[in-house]
């Protein structure tokens, strides 16, 4: 029964005191009421014991208010035990526990019998001697044997030697040594000498960093007490809205700059005039309020399953709209089921930041194969471990310490936590002059790069290639332009029907774009890159406004500046978030990427089911032509399929390779059909 009554307290004990403040307090008050109003000694005793059971194990860390509750509970228990013959012997133990907890505690003489009071005093005198203190000025901190506490007028200290120190901001501290023995009382007088001014601050919010002349003095903490009411109320604040007093002491003569910083708040800088420092005095500034500094963050993605993390803290699944965020820099991370997106962002006060998260492939570094030692091994390994800092288009996962590359590969393959792997293997020779870097997709497309461990930047080429992502679109106007000597600007070779309807003339040079001279195609390209929606073009007369279109591109094949496994990984992630023509253009380029690796069968899988609605430029005819090429390269068994694909390609006479101005597919498909006859 007794155990059952204690069960809630044991549970609360496990959770920590903070979670049970109200319950303990309530039990304490109930105990007092049971005795005062009902004379229920047993009921009151049981409840005081519950309070002691919770508080006593944490006595060393209790704050003064709870320490007082514990002391009073002991006092009550001593009184209640003393009232019954059976429990009377326990009273002395209660008093001894009280003295051990706080020798300075005075028993309630209205409650406690004279006999018990005498017993209390006698027990205390067996171990403690009284010391009387005087302070000038008051309001400082008294430390006894290094433990700071309030400057009480009288303290009971254990027999033996003690070091006493009294300090107060703006004054030089004073230390005393006392040797206490049984039966003797002592006095200690502290008189401090002023050495500087002090400035006391109350800051909202608590936790603000305080800097004087750029030097951090610490952070404000806690809540102000009633002493700050006179300052807080005129400002419409409650004292608890403010931090505890933060005292700046040792203020040198002259003016100073006070700076207050707090996360999520606007930094405040105040000038402190010289008269605050001299003559020496104690100053209290008006409470300082730091204004909120927040912006909003919206993160979305066309790819499903993303979860947003801001500087490591999860903010939930995407999309995240108008999330209030403290202004400042953050490491934004979105984890997708495949791939990840990371970006260093800065949220500005009062502004809305929108981020569109596109997953990047993850590259898992498996490690350096083998134990072969060679000159430059440690340096190369360190460079490989730091490769992630140089990559913008790929998220880098460093090798796990102690894990062999083979094990790492098995782990990555099983968990699919990365789309790409990187493995370094020394090339055996008398002296290791080369290390092979293998970059591969989990699907098996791989590239090898030989580096020299002693060269200045062995990973420069790899980093550059991993950072290069070919574009799948370019902005265009539906025009074919030439640079013809003697013409004032790009000369229009051909224009789409829409451009001609809008008034653009074929066979004439463009002279202006958006009101600015247009000397070259390169200049127009720059205009298009910065254009929003449309561009106004002039051919010497009235301007013609043409909408900016996105024109499809093929990825270049065999380009030495690209890392094709990474390109494929990018495309696979892009495909996951794409729809319609966009998805099919990605499939076309996935097919090209697979053709680069001579995986013609896999390329056909991508190409044959893709359908582009466009008929000019990189379009359906391009898809069909590449499908034909793949069948052709699979050998004579697929001759019929190749023929069919090339015939299909011929239906799109405006289809091109590479980009909108690339070679027409038609003549190439026609020739391929001719060769197939």
């Amino acid at each position: 029964m007794r155990i059952r009554r204690f069960l809630p307290f044991l549970f609360l004990l496990g959770l920590g005191l903070g979670a049970q403040d109200a319950t303990v307090k309530d039990t304490f008050l109930q105990a007092k009421a049971l005795w005062a109003t009902q004379g229920d000694r047993e009921g009151a005793t049981a409840r005081f014991e519950q309070v002691v059971g919770v508080l006593a194990p944490r006595a060393a860390t209790l704050d003064p208010a709870w320490s007082q509750v514990l002391c009073e509970s002991y006092n009550w228990l001593a009184v209640l035990d003393d009232r019954h013959a059976q429990t009377k012997p326990r009273a002395q133990g209660r008093l001894q526990a009280l003295i051990d907890l706080d020798p300075d505690f005075e028993v309630d003489r209205t409650l406690t019998s004279q006999r018990l009071t005498t017993l209390f005093d006698r027990l205390k005198a067996e171990k403690y001697a009284p010391v009387k203190f005087s302070y000038s000025p008051e309001g400082g901190t008294l430390s006894v044997d290094g433990r700071p506490g309030p400057p009480l007028g009288r303290r009971f200290l254990p027999f033996g030697s003690h070091k006493l120190a009294y300090s107060r901001p703006g004054y030089a501290s004073v230390e005393l040594s006392l040797d206490l023995a049984s039966g003797e009382g002592r006095t200690a007088d502290f008189k401090l000498t002023r050495v500087s001014s002090t400035v006391t601050l109350y800051v909202q919010p608590s936790g603000a960093e305080v800097l004087v002349d750029g030097r951090s003095l610490g952070r404000t903490k806690g809540q102000a007490g009633a002493e700050a009411a006179a300052l807080a109320v005129p400002l419409g604040l409650r004292p608890e809205d403010l931090s505890e007093a933060f005292v700046i002491s040792e203020l040198a003569a002259g003016p100073h700059q006070l700076e207050l910083r707090a996360p999520c708040h606007r930094t405040k800088v105040l000038e402190m005039e010289a008269n605050l420092a001299t003559p020496w005095a104690d100053h209290t500034l008006e409470p300082i309020r730091l204004d909120d500094s927040k912006g909003t963050l919206s993160v979305g993605s066309a790819w499903p399953g993303g979860e947003l993390f801001l500087s490591g803290q999860s903010q939930g699944p995407l999309p995240v709209a108008q999330l209030p965020v403290c202004s400042g820099p953050y490491d934004l991370l979105v984890r997708f089921p495949a791939g990840g997106f990371s970006k260093r962002i800065t949220v500005e006060e009062g502004k809305a930041l929108t981020v569109d998260a596109r997953p990047k492939p993850r590259l898992a570094f498996l490690g350096l194969e083998g134990e072969t030692d060679f000159t430059g091994r440690a340096r190369l390994l360190s460079l490989l471990e730091g490769l992630g800092d140089r990559l913008q288009q790929v998220a880098f996962l460093p090798a796990r310490p102690g894990e062999a590359p083979r094990e790492a590969l098995a782990r990555v393959k099983a968990s699919r936590e990365a789309e790409l792997i990187l493995l370094a293997t020394p090339v055996p020779a008398k002296v290791v002059h080369q290390v092979e870097l293998l970059v591969a997709t989990l699907e098996g497309e791989e590239e090898r790069l030989l580096v020299k461990p002693l060269e200045e930047d062995p990973l420069g080429a790899l980093a550059a290639r991993l950072n290069a992502v070919p574009a799948l679109h370019e902005p265009g106007l539906g025009l074919s332009l030439l640079e013809v000597p003697g013409e004032p600007g790009p000369w229009v070779l051909s224009a789409s029907e829409a451009a001609q309807k809008a008034g653009l003339q074929v066979g004439k040079a463009l002279t202006q774009a958006d009101g600015k001279p247009l000397p070259s195609i390169q200049a127009l390209r720059r205009v298009l890159e910065g254009a929003r929606g449309s561009v106004a073009l002039s051919q010497g007369g009235a301007a013609v406004t043409l909408p900016v279109q996105t024109e499809a591109l093929e990825i270049p094949l065999g380009a030495s500046n690209l890392c094709y496994p990474a390109v494929l990984a990018h495309l696979r992630l892009l495909y996951a978030g794409a729809k319609g023509d966009e998805a099919n253009l990605i499939r076309l380029n996935l097919g090209l990427g697979l053709m680069h690796f001579r995986k013609y069968d896999k390329a056909i899988e991508q190409l044959r089911d893709a359908r582009l609605s466009t008929v000019s430029g990189v379009s359906q005819g391009t898809l069909d032509y590449h499908t034909g090429l793949c069948f052709l390269r699979l050998g004579s068994a697929y001759q019929a399929e190749a023929t069919q694909a090339f015939r299909q390609a011929l239906k799109y006479p405006q289809a091109t390779l590479l980009g909108p101005d690339g070679p027409l597919v038609g003549p190439l498909a026609r020739q391929a059909l001719e060769d197939l006859k």
Partner: protein, 493 residues
């Protein structure tokens, strides 16, 4: 020590393994020696101590024929014969050995490519290209990932083009730059692809690709070439502005020549001028005249030969810069034009001979059936254009001399002319004719590659009077005329 003791078994095991160990050790030593010999040869070659390098590599081939450095040495020896000694025939044995003994080595790709290139150079007719094309195809099939592949495709494209197979040529040129866009050969492949598109009748495609080449490799020589090829096509075939007389060219230079009678444009765009009064040709470069070619009194035709040479044809024969004695031209006495074809054969037109005469590089000649030609100019197709005054027709011939397009004099003109005095072409397919007689009178007509009239003007309308005997098409879309009476040049634009 008992027989079963491991101490007795160890020597036995060692003895058993000895032959293998000795073999492995010998191979390692051979490889080591080969590497050092190869590097020693490389060092010597870099300092131009060629004989030392050749000896060292030959020693390597004898001492370590099975090492991985042997095919490298063979390739280096072959390249030396081609690039330094200029003796391609001496390179062939090395390349044959590389192909025969080391076909699996990575160097075989470069070896096959070089072999194919040399065979293509030796070819004197389209049928001779078979062996060269086989080597290029081997590079593509056996070493699909080798860096030599784009050049093999490019050369295969050239071979198809030389056979008039423009579709197949285009396919190879496009593959060469699509599959490896940053290969050194890519700009040349783009240029050839653009030219081939024009031959296939796709002028916009040609122009777009020329522009793309300028964007993709703006600093390459091919981009410079693309610039003028694009410019002349746009001007002559798309813009077609009326021809205007810019006057004496260069401006203000009159009486600065001595009876100029023949003009031609060199491959680099420089103007070649034959001055009858000085009996020789001159190269006009940046305002300066420098003698070019051998002295040739009374030259009747001038040919801008490869490598900047100037050939002159006179009654005495063909006069070349490097050859002291003139090559007899078989009694041709009224030479009216000449052109070199892709195979190095010289096609000569004679106003008194009802055929064209083709002189092979070895000096032999053969007639090619044709009407009597009063003027002749080469075409980028590998063929020729000739003017037959007797038939009053321009004939566009293919590389075999067969007429592909016939254009009657005066077609698409307001009035007809009777004679063609001279023909010129610009390497981009346009042909200019210097004409006279008939109702048209003296003037010039510019034709497209298919014989369509693009631009024309009479000298009367241009205000030109003089004795114009020849013309040339410049790289900026202009026509240069030479006036033998007034010893000056005109430029039409």
């Amino acid at each position: 020590m008992s027989p079963a003791s491991p101490w007795s078994r160890t020597p036995v095991a060692l003895l058993c393994a000895l032959p293998g160990l000795v073999q492995v050790s010998a191979r390692a030593q051979e490889g080591d020696l080969a590497e050092r010999l190869y590097q020693s040869g490389e060092r010597a070659y870099a300092t131009k101590a060629y004989q030392e390098a050749l000896d060292t590599w030959s020693q390597l081939l004898q001492a370590a024929p099975k090492s991985e450095f042997a095919p490298r040495a063979l390739l280096a020896l072959a390249r030396h014969q081609v690039e330094v000694e200029h003796k391609p025939e001496a390179a062939m044995p090395y390349l044959d050995r590389l192909k025969g003994d080391y076909l699996r080595a990575p160097e075989a790709a470069d070896g096959l490519l070089l072999r194919g290139t040399l065979l293509a150079r030796q070819a004197r007719r389209a049928a001779d290209l078979k062996d060269a094309m086989a080597e290029f195809n081997r590079v593509i099939d056996l070493f699909p990932e080798a860096p030599a592949v784009p050049e093999a495709r490019f050369r295969l494209g050239r071979a198809w083009r030389d056979q008039g197979q423009w579709g197949r040529a285009l396919h190879q040129f496009v593959e060469a730059f699509v599959v490896r866009p940053d290969a050194a050969i890519a700009p040349r492949a783009m240029l050839e692809a653009a030219e081939t598109l024009d031959l296939l009748g796709d002028l916009p495609g040609c122009l777009r690709l020329l522009q793309q080449l300028r964007t993709a490799a703006p600093r390459s020589p091919e981009a410079q070439e693309a610039a003028w090829r694009l410019a002349v096509r746009v001007k002559h075939r798309l813009q077609k502005p009326p021809l205007a007389n810019e006057g004496v060219w260069p401006a203000g230079r009159v009486k600065w020549l001595k009876t100029p009678t023949l003009l031609a444009t060199a491959a680099d765009g420089d103007l070649l001028i034959y001055q009858n009064g000085l009996d020789r040709a001159f190269r006009f470069h940046q305002g300066e005249l420098t003698p070019a070619g051998a002295g040739a009194p009374g030259a009747k035709a001038m040919v801008a030969a490869p490598a900047g040479e100037v050939w002159l044809l006179a009654k005495t024969g063909l006069l070349r810069e490097q050859v002291a004695a003139p090559m007899p031209l078989g009694g041709l006495s009224a030479i009216s034009g000449a052109a070199l074809d892709r195979w190095g054969a010289l096609w000569v037109a004679d106003a008194k001979t009802p055929a064209l005469t083709v002189f092979s590089p070895d000096g032999t000649s053969r007639p090619v059936a044709s009407p009597t030609a009063n003027a002749l100019a080469p075409l980028p197709t590998g063929g020729l254009v000739i003017a037959a005054d007797a038939d009053r027709k321009l004939l566009f011939l293919d590389a075999d001399g067969q007429p592909r397009t016939v254009v009657p004099y005066g077609k698409d003109l307001p009035a007809t002319f009777r004679y063609v005095v001279a023909l010129a072409s610009d390497g981009a397919g346009q042909v200019a004719a210097l004409v006279e007689g008939g109702d048209f009178g003296e003037g010039v007509v510019i034709f497209g590659p298919q014989g369509a009239v693009l631009r024309q003007a009479t000298f009367k309308s241009l205000g030109i009077s003089g004795r114009i005997t020849s013309l040339a098409m410049d790289h900026a879309g202009g026509l240069i005329l030479c006036d033998r009476r007034n010893d000056l040049l005109y430029r039409l634009n």
